[in-house]
Amino acid sequence: MTALLSLRGLTVAFNGTPVVHGIDLDIQAGEKLALVGESGSGKTVSALSLLRLVEGAQVSGQALLEGRDLLALSGPQLRAVRGDEVAVIFQEPMTALNPLQTVGAQIAEVLQLKRGLNATDARRAVVDLLVSTGIAEPQRRAGAYPHQLSGGQRQRVMIAMALASRPRLLIADEPTTALDVSLRGQMLDLLSDLQREYGMAVLLITHDLNLVRRFASRVAVMERGHLVEQGAVAEVFAAPRNPYTRQLLASRPVRDLQETPVPPGQAPVLSARDLGVSYPVPLPGLRGWFRRGRFDAVRSVQFALARGRTLGVVGGSGSGKSTLALAALGLLPHSGQLAVEGTDWEAARRGGASRALRRRVQVVFQDPFSSLSPRMTVEQIVGEGLLVHEPTLHEADRQARVVDALRDVGLLQAGEDPAGWLQRYPHECSGGQRQRLAIARALIVEPRVLVLDEPTSALDVTVQQQVLGLLQRLQRERALSYLLITHDVDVIRAMAHEVLVMKEGAVVEHGPALDVLSAPQHPYTQELVRAAL
């Protein structure tokens, strides 16, 4: 049986530097194949370069779609293939849709171009397609603009658009990464259903092994532009042959925490009672001219974080968990009580003592690329806190403290010359190194509480495990308390002593992390836990 698509020695290079080194891969008709790898492994580039969708890439080798070499096609021939026999859905549905046209018009355009329908038939077919993606109120949604839809709805529209031309092969490039955790499962089920219904092959590009296990029948693993292993999902997951695959599979975060109960009578380092945070929002109509409404991002949250413990806060996007993090940092005004070692933020601000309090609470953000100023050296970035909180420190002492902090976070080995590191700029560091720098910057002022806002979700799985291990070690050594904000149930399971589950600004479940995860009570928690399996 010949494959639907077979790649033979596919090589992709940028400016003469190859990033994909001659991969051979077959996709059978109607097959669900997952292409897995970490960022930079070349998985997206190799899939999208088939349709010449990657700018500046030099592609060589063969890509036979039912015997026709895609790479040898002329521009017009390739355009006929794109979206017709091969369709693509992208990671970020917001940027993949034209914001100035209704989604119905955009899907109808595909139908008219690729299937030659007239405007009336196209409109009817649009609604049928939207129905098949399970979107609520498909009639009305067809007339909506992309910004009027939620992330999940937008992704459904993208899928409808991809299906409009009845493709033989659907390339799904991280289709769920931009979505809320609780929606990811639904989206995969939808893709599975549609795949069966349309009998098309799906090439799923992802870094998430949970998705692979759930969705694909076959898996191909890429590492640095090489295809290192492929086979049936069950076989590869049960008995990986390649060491890299083994490493990937073993990179689920491990729980390694101080599990003894908190000594009774010990005051919490961070506590909240009836905490609320609200934003001003414009009111519609004439009222908006005179008054502003308020949107409650966080409502009546209650918690107490003990010394040396971790409080996990989990929830989907818009649940208010990041707002809670900013409030804990004292960057947002709040109502109710939010106290660091007994001092309320609002009271400190009124008393002009907030700077002293800032030293107690530090932060590590999600995106290691935006959390470090690109024009400062490592020494300046890490040492900045000392300039503020210990301004009398001598410059040589400050540098010594920076070097210590770099050692603490494992960027410098003992005895290694720090000079090379101190003068480095962020762009010369990898994602994991940058996240370690962010941790070092926070640690140097010796805080009691570290707010970790999705500290690992921008990192590759293997690096994620290392950073979580580092955080666990630092907590044991220094009795640090963590307020850990995440959407990732695996991270909560590995890191948190207690967990708050938030939905739409309110806490829906609160309790010891392992208990909550093993026996979730609230339907939303159940959904989250199920999605992570």
Partner: protein, 344 residues
């Protein structure tokens, strides 16, 4: 690590240098500016050094009466007078004249042809309709244009950065108020104000600088404001706030260095726009006071004496070369600072 760590601005400079056209435009432009700064040594109606009867004089910095060199009057010496020239070069006496022995306002009383006269051995690019040497006028006109543009750019840029930074950083009501102010200010008819002011007040370069600066900062401040609005949302600024840095420290250490890309990119284009503005105002007669060498005034002379092709043609050439060099630099700079073109 093997290679030296380079800051982002150093890397941008490396990328700029790799653009040969832009880099050599910068070198040539700088050379021209430096040369024009020493215009007095290149083009002047006084000799640089005179050795007269055993004594050395520096007429560039000394005012010497004609009687000193055997003339009849106490008036300052006209060194282009054939008699004086004869006097100070006779026998042991010698004088070093600049390569082009005319100042911007020197009238050549001893010209062979009527004014404006075509290029000749005496006046390499000819003279204008008042008998002033065109080359000298171009050199001094270029100097004034460039210095004026530089000053205007610096003032406008500083004003733009400060106002943009304030709007972008504080946002909210501050931003709103400033934006409305800019809208009102920007809708004032600049040209009419210039005409009115040049009628009311005595025209001078300083007045022109003030008037043009009043309106020149708005475009840039919008860019800086946008950069600040974008950057202040980024996590490193949040981290700095969580660290307890003051507003000033955050602006100075974090936001400013990361928001200057559009400012730097626009510098050459602002320069060329400023040169053009001065030239066109001079062309209309609203610019620098009469008697100041100016490219715009030369262009207007070229228009009035259309058959004296050397006036319009050479002025046009100087303008084109200047603006072209600036544009090449601007293009190279824009490419060098383009965040999408990472260097590999």
């Amino acid at each position: 690590m093997s290679q030296l760590s380079l800051s982002p601005s150093r890397r941008a400079w490396q990328r700029f240098k790799r653009n040969r056209l832009g880099f050599w435009s910068l070198v040539l432009f700088c050379a021209l500016v430096v040369m024009s700064l020493f215009a007095d040594l290149l083009s002047n109606d006084r000799p640089l050094v005179v050795r007269y009867e055993g004594k050395t004089y520096f007429p560039l910095v000394q005012d010497l009466p004609e009687t000193l060199f055997g003339g009849d009057f106490e008036a300052p010496t006209d060194y282009l007078d054939p008699f004086i020239r004869e006097q100070i070069t006779r026998g042991d006496n010698w004088a070093v004249y600049p390569p082009n022995p005319y100042g911007p306002n020197t009238l050549n009383y001893f010209a062979q042809a009527p004014n404006p006269s075509a290029p000749s051995a005496d006046n390499w690019l000819g003279t204008d309709d008042r008998g002033r040497d065109l080359l000298a006028q171009l050199i001094y006109g270029f100097r004034i244009s460039v210095l004026f543009a530089l000053a205007l750019t610096v003032i406008g840029t500083l004003l733009g950065i400060v106002t943009g930074a304030i709007q972008g950083y504080f946002g909210g009501r501050t931003d709103l108020a400033f934006q409305r102010f800019i809208e009102i200010w920007g809708s004032m008819p600049e040209l009419y104000l210039l005409i009115i002011f040049s009628a009311v007040l005595a025209p001078s370069v300083g007045l022109l600088l003030v008037l043009l600066s009043l309106f020149g900062w708005m475009g840039l401040s919008d860019y800086v404001r946008a950069e600040f609005l974008r950057n202040r949302q980024l996590d490193y600024v949040r981290a700095a706030r969580a660290m307890g840095l003051s507003h000033g420290q955050i602006i100075w250490r974090h936001l400013l260095p990361n928001s200057l890309t559009p400012v730097v990119t626009f510098l050459p284009f602002r320069m060329s726009a400023a040169i053009l503005a001065l030239t066109s105002l001079d062309f209309l007669g609203l610019g620098v006071p009469p008697g100041t060498p100016s490219l715009g005034e030369l262009l207007s002379q070229g228009k009035n004496n259309i058959d004296a092709w050397w006036i319009s043609l050479s002025t046009f050439a100087v303008l084109v070369v200047t603006l072209l060099l600036l544009t090449f630099m601007g293009d190279a700079l824009r490419d060098a600072l383009d965040p999408r073109k990472a260097d590999r």
